[in-house]
Amino acid sequence: MPKMNLSHLEASLLFAALASVVLGIVTKQTDHERLMYGIYCFGCFLAALFGLGWLMYFGHG
């Protein structure tokens, strides 16, 4: 079986994309709301990813 080597960023982006699609599908009622909520969730994942990344960078000294 081949092995997949993803960096922290790549793995986080892949997980964020998949989780956003699922959250969009199961949460809202119409297709437009689902799309908007999925994009919103992905944005939140990105904000948390980069925000926590910079926080750890500065916190590490």
Partner: protein
């Protein structure tokens, strides 16, 4: 007690199928696009976890933290349904190794199961008539 309890026969087939085959509950309920999207997401997360050589959890007891992590992880893995069962039947047995790729793989395997739990809840709500 709720006055609007839904008969079990109305939602059990959809929820059981949603567990066994990710997105299957939605397909049974004629929500084809959503079912296929859910199947794709769970499948990609699970296969990515396998390709990153993530470890599958086995239930262990001990202190509270150990019990929570190992039993919770096992339930998360089991929630992937046929993907998990096939993987175990085919002999996948990856030890828990150090390294960020293995670690992400383990989280992807559990995450796939948790995404399927969301899909099962959604299938229940559709089957019970609580949403469209």
């Amino acid at each position: 007690m709720s006055k609007t309890s839904v008969p079990i026969v109305q939602w059990l087939p959809a929820v059981a199928l949603a567990w066994a085959i990710p997105g299957g509950g939605h397909l049974l309920l004629k929500r084809r696009t959503r079912g296929l999207l859910l199947f794709g997401c769970v499948l990609i997360a699970f296969v990515a976890g396998l390709l990153m050589r993530g470890a599958l959890f086995e239930p262990q007891t001990g202190d509270l933290f150990t019990t929570l992590i190992y039993c919770g992880g096992f339930i998360g893995n089991l929630a992937s349904g046929v993907l998990y069962l096939l993987t175990v039947m085919m002999g996948y047995n990856q030890p828990d190794l150090a390294g960020h790729v293995h670690d992400y793989g383990t989280k992807f395997l559990v995450g796939a199961g948790l995404m399927n739990v969301l899909a099962m809840v959604d299938a229940y709500e559709i089957a019970a008539g609580k949403k469209s």
